[in-house]
């Protein structure tokens, strides 16, 4: 199948190095300590953060650092076919774990011993790249909750189809069977916190694809910073400073 036309356009009209339209919004769940909505094209994710708060299950309490928990779910209506998604299936358990590890790496847990931070992410609409969108949403929500972090974590996927590296795969491209690299970085520290790939790639092409994903992550980071700055300005304005 032709995923990139000879004119250099992808199926949805993007060029190989272009991301989908992204949008972020802070404070969508009033009850939570921090929350955010993040969209990458038609992929729409909501994240809510509670904490730091008291550890619910005492046996899990850590004396030197905070306990980070994460729950990833997909809304039943998130994909076209309304299948009942059993909670805690393999896929969502795996993604929960991935998100928790990624976020744990940037949260300064040692500052909050004997406490617990809960991150809930839910996919409202899925169109490829849910993992990345969840991480971006969680990152934004953590910032909104005012939890101390080393840096923002941003994520973006990239793939390789028709011998072309593609940025930010949508669902059709994702299910094409080519390689799919999901990358999470801390843009200021220039460190990688997440790197996943299914399928195989030769080292040279992998480096190209990875470089493209890094560019994508950095672009997301710039956008997230803008959103946060805008939000802070709003707060300033409301407080009348």
């Amino acid at each position: 199948m032709e995923y990139v036309s000879p004119e250099g356009l992808r199926l949805d009209g993007r060029r190989p190095m272009e991301m989908r339209q992204i949008r972020g919004e802070i404070g969508v769940v009033a009850k939570a300590d921090g929350s955010a909505l993040f969209e990458m094209g038609n992929t729409k994710v909501i994240a809510a953060v509670y904490g730091p708060r008291e550890v619910q299950n005492r046996s899990q309490q850590l004396n030197d650092s905070a306990l980070v928990r994460c729950e990833y779910t997909m809304a039943n209506f998130s994909t076209g076919d309304r299948m009942r998604k059993p909670k805690g299936d393999r896929r969502s358990t795996e993604i929960s774990l991935v998100i928790r590890q990624t976020m744990e790496a940037c949260i300064m847990t040692h500052l909050m011993p004997r406490s617990q931070i809960d991150i809930f992410v839910q996919v409202l609409q899925a169109d490829g790249g849910t993992r990345s969108a969840c991480i971006n949403a969680a990152s934004l929500a953590l910032a909104d909750a005012g939890i101390p972090m080393r840096d923002l974590v941003t994520s973006c996927s990239a793939g390789y189809l028709n011998s072309t590296p593609l940025l930010d795969l949508n669902y059709i491209e994702d299910s094409a069977g080519g390689a799919d690299v999901t990358l999470g970085i801390m843009p200021k520290l220039d460190k990688v916190t997440l790197l996943q790939m299914d399928a195989k790639l030769s080292v040279e092409t992998f480096e190209n694809v990875m470089q493209l994903a890094i560019e994508g992550c950095k672009a997301v980071a710039t956008y997230i910073r803008e959103v946060l700055l805008e939000n802070t300005k709003q707060l300033e304005y409301r407080r009348g400073i």
């Binding site: 000879p6 356009l9 949805d12 038609n42 195989k200 790639l201």
Partner: protein, 934 residues
């Protein structure tokens, strides 16, 4: 700008789902005209000062692709919506349009109107998809008109009346294809036009004019929805229709749902299906399963069996119905094989065909449009009706014709003329026909491909010698043995005695992958061509000439790069160790088989080279015996060799190809090298090795052999290859040629060996039946076979010399490469056979000959004979054709005999007869070889 496309779609399971996709509209899509002042013109493809820019409607592109390919049509803007529709409707047309768009000589520009912010249209409520697309085309045309503002004329070409009317209303100039081509005043282009299907023509009018022609010839095809539901319910069966190469009125559909082949007799039951079409078939009631056979024969108007080469394998051989045709007296014919009829065509396999027009009288008013019948060279294709304005030019020419439609009122499909190849009977024309028929690419290599060649003149550089992966074997006494006059030498050998009494034997293969790197244009071209093609007077190379004849060729007395397999062998030819290495060699002699044989036979010669040859020959004999012990078949072929006049290129003589001990010696070591390499690569890459397998023939396939053998009182055991080999060995009679004849008959029962990717099959299926080898591959001829190039890369990767190219990680790509190689390989073989047939015809043109022949098959009105001397096979008729003198001769199936009713004469299978070979021309320009008894 973001748009969401949403539409409903039916999934394969039958569920209806709603699909929403993002659709981005862009500002950076340019018009492609160099005169444009607004757009970026770096990617522009149209001519600098176009007078008219053409925009084609989807239907025009779909139907008139032959016209578009004509260089007279240029400055075309292809809209992406048109491309998309074409892609969904007909992939081969799509590929042809794409080829036009990427051809730098043509001015075709693809305008992505669907993603341009000004030309994207959203579906209006109540508007059908087609109407929306037509509107999109008009909007794009209008955009061009305003965008280029008068500097060029925009012409929309559409055959849809409604679309044309609306376009003119909206102020776009629009024309139909016919009127546009007429305005070009090029009458030859008009022949390329596809006539509109007769449904579009006013029906009543035609009915009045030609009432006799209005007879319905074929039953209507069922609509697609009915076919799908029929397939689901199991009433219909889906499969690819294959027409019998030797009897175009008989076809087979391999059906998975039945697990057997369905036979389809007669054109009526085939219901307008072509060879290669995917069809839906309905089974006939069981009582009709056999009687159709006689009907089909009655239908046989003027088709007849031709003289042809002896088939090389079961795939080439005429199909014989497993059920012996019951003799006339039997009233209740019972057939075990289901027969059926075609109810619908799921996918057409129409392409263009080579052939010539049926001889016909010139119509009274010459210069006007004439209706002619075209007969394809490929007998499986029915005659095609065409319209032409240049009948007098075409009658004695070989031409290419494409099929357009076949409605149920006409006996023959209608098509249109594409191009002329040349004079009928001319050797070059006929050779070209052979090449086209077999889809062989004879175009010269493109400049991109030639750019990949190393700088010439090339010689082994000091870097090559210094390279640690390359062993310096120049001191070895390496030599090559090939057919005389061979220029692309891809293998060389050496054999030295070791102090411990063992031998070191090396097979050195040209290191083609050192020059052909993966993912280069050169590599892509080679992988497409797949193999070199050897015709009688010509060779079509897979790689450019400098590589095949110089840089890679392991010629004598020059240093060349090689990939070597080196064994240590005991004098009993047991392999002690094997090693593989890239090397530099210097061949000391390029011998021909005859020279090598002469050296070995001449007992006075005691020079080191001759000693090596003798040692190798001794080893080869042991290896060969061992292989035969294991059950390898020694099959005979009826290959012939021509002596060609160097000036006129006409054949001077034909003779059987002689196989010498030297041939067998080289073959033996090549086999051993291939087996060793197969083991090595499979060990390292169990999932992506390219191997070659030869499937065990089924009992059904061996049936004709067994029947013939039984008739002459020979009992063959076919339970295994070993058993078959043994019984073939014991099949000897007083007649010295008998054994070879039986082997030739056995050969044609075998299927062909095929390439495959090891990941696609399970290890027991890797077996090569003919060689009785559990593993086999092709390693030894990388200059002329692409499979060997792949295997070289695999072997280099398994040694850690080079990295494995990424292709190997893609299972489906690998499978498609293997399929292409099989297809090309088979076509190359067919082309060589056709070329030999052609030259046989030319040879006998001036030389009517009497010779000895063997009967190989009995038919109701004669028999087939095999002429060993010329390697041809053909029919001999006892009763003249047309006369059904069935009463006079009687066929005895059991004993494979044909007997005259009064008992005065009888012929049985394998009997020797004397025949007369002569070229006759029953129709002008249609010479054929006729065999008659003397």
């Amino acid at each position: 700008m973001l748009q969401n496309k949403s539409f409903v779609k039916r999934t394969r399971g039958g569920k209806i789902t709603k699909v929403v996709r993002e659709h981005y509209l862009r500002h950076d899509i340019y018009c492609g005209a160099p005169i444009c002042k607004v757009c970026d013109t770096s990617q522009a493809r149209l001519s600098p000062t176009p007078s008219t820019i053409l925009i084609f409607d989807t239907n025009v592109v779909l139907n008139q692709i032959d016209l578009l390919e004509n260089p007279a049509i240029d400055d075309v803007v292809v809209l992406s919506i048109v491309l998309e529709e074409v892609k969904n409707r007909n992939l081969s047309v799509y590929n042809r349009v794409r080829a036009l768009c990427s051809n730098s000589l043509r001015k075709f520009f693809v305008f992505s109107n669907e993603h341009h912010k000004d030309t994207y249209v959203t579906e209006m409520s109540g508007e059908s998809k087609n109407d929306r697309n037509d509107r999109a085309i008009r909007v794009a045309a209008q955009w061009y008109q305003t965008h280029l503002a008068g500097s060029a004329r925009i012409l929309l070409i559409t055959n849809d009346k409604e679309n044309k009317r609306k376009a003119i209303e909206e102020g776009i100039s629009a024309e139909t294809v016919e009127s546009y081509v007429r305005s070009l005043s090029r009458p030859d282009l008009l022949d390329l036009l596809v006539q509109p299907a007769s449904e579009d023509v006013n029906m009543e009018e035609v009915e009045d004019l030609r009432p006799s022609k209005r007879k319905i010839m074929y039953t209507e095809h069922k609509p697609m929805s009915e076919i799908t539901s029929g397939l689901h319910r199991g009433i219909y069966h889906q499969g690819k229709l294959r027409v019998n190469r030797y009897n175009p009125f008989e076809a087979y559909v391999g059906s998975e749902s039945i697990g057997d082949e369905i036979i389809i007799y007669g054109r009526t039951n085939m219901n307008r299906a072509f060879d290669g079409d995917i069809v839906a078939v309905e089974l006939l009631p069981q009582d009709q399963w056999h009687e159709e056979k006689s009907l089909a024969l009655a239908d046989e108007e003027d088709e007849e069996e031709d003289v042809h080469l002896v088939p090389g394998s079961a795939d080439d051989a005429p199909r014989t119905t497993a059920q012996p045709p019951g003799s006339a007296g039997v009233t209740e014919p019972i057939s075990s094989r289901p027969s059926g009829r075609v109810v619908g065509i799921i996918k057409r396999n129409w392409h263009s065909y080579c052939g010539s027009l049926e001889p016909m009288a010139m119509p009274a008013g010459s210069g006007g449009v004439a209706h002619a019948l075209f007969a394809s060279k490929d007998r499986r294709i029915p005659k095609i009706r065409i319209h032409t304005r240049q009948l007098e030019n075409l009658l004695d020419k070989r031409i290419v014709v494409a099929v357009d439609s076949w409605d149920r009122l006409s006996r023959y499909p209608s098509g249109h003329y594409v191009r002329t190849i040349g004079q009928i009977g001319d050797r070059d024309t006929e050779t070209e026909v052979v090449l086209i028929e077999n889809d062989i690419n004879t175009r010269p290599f493109s400049s991109q491909v030639l750019a990949c060649l190393p700088p010439l003149p090339w010689s082994v550089s000091s870097e090559d010698l210094a390279n640690s992966i390359r062993q310096d074997l120049r001191q070895l006494r390496v030599f090559s043995v090939d057919p005389p006059g061979c220029k692309d030498i891809d293998d060389a050998l050496h054999c030295t005695s070791l102090p411990n009494g063992n031998y070191e034997v090396g097979v050195h293969i040209a290191d083609v992958t050192n020059f052909v790197h993966s993912d280069t244009p050169l590599d892509d071209e080679a992988s497409q061509r797949g193999t070199s093609v050897y015709l009688v007077e010509r060779r079509i190379d897979m790689l450019p000439k400098p590589l095949t004849e110089d840089v890679c060729s392991l010629r004598a007395d020059v240093e060349r790069l090689a990939f070597s397999v080196i064994w240590e062998m005991t004098p009993e030819a047991e392999i002690i160790s094997t090693r593989y290495t890239k090397s530099v060699i210097k061949s000391c002699a390029a011998l021909s088989y005859i020279e090598a044989q002469a050296r070995m036979d001449d007992s006075r010669l005691m020079d080191p080279l001759t000693t090596d040859l003798r040692n190798m020959n001794a080893l080869a004999k042991i290896m060969r015996d061992r292989r035969i012990q294991r059950g390898a078949l020694t099959l005979a072929s009826a290959e012939v060799k021509f002596q060609i006049d160097t000036e006129t290129h006409d054949p001077l003589d034909i003779g059987m190809y002689q196989i010498r001990e030297a041939n067998q010696m080289v073959e033996e070591f090549m086999l051993a090298a291939n087996v060793s390499v197969a083991e090595k690569i499979l060990k390292h890459f169990p999932l992506c090795s390219l191997l070659r397998r030869h499937p065990t023939p089924t009992r059904e396939m061996l049936e004709p052999l067994l029947r013939t053998a039984a008739a002459v009182g020979l009992n063959l055991d076919v339970s295994s290859s070993k058993a078959l080999a043994d019984s073939l060995d014991s099949a000897v009679a007083d007649d010295p040629y008998f054994n070879k004849l039986i082997r030739i008959l056995a050969t044609r029962c075998m299927t062909q060996a095929v390439y495959f990717s090891s990941g696609d099959l399970s290890p027991p299926e890797y077996l090569h039946y003919g060689l009785a080898a559990p593993l086999y591959t092709h390693f030894t001829s990388p200059i002329r076979r692409y499979a060997d190039v792949i295997v070289h890369r695999l072997l280099a990767a398994s040694l850690g010399i080079q990295k494995l190219p990424t292709v190997f990680q893609d299972g489906t790509r690998l499978t498609s490469i293997a399929d292409n190689l099989n297809y090309r390989h088979r076509n190359a073989q067919m082309a060589s056979r056709a070329s030999v047939e052609l030259h046989t015809l030319i040879f006998f043109r001036k030389r009517p000959t009497d010779t000895e022949a063997r009967i190989v098959r009995i038919r109701s009105n004669g028999f087939f004979v095999f002429v060993p001397k010329y390697g041809i096979e053909g029919p001999v008729y006892l009763t003249p054709r047309g006369e059904k003198g069935g009463g006079e001769w009687f066929v005895d199936e059991q004993q494979q005999k044909i007997r005259k009713m009064d008992g005065s004469m009888s012929y049985s299978v394998l009997q020797t007869v004397f025949i007369h070979l002569e070229i006759v021309e029953p129709q002008p320009n249609r010479p054929k070889l006729q065999l008659t008894l003397v």
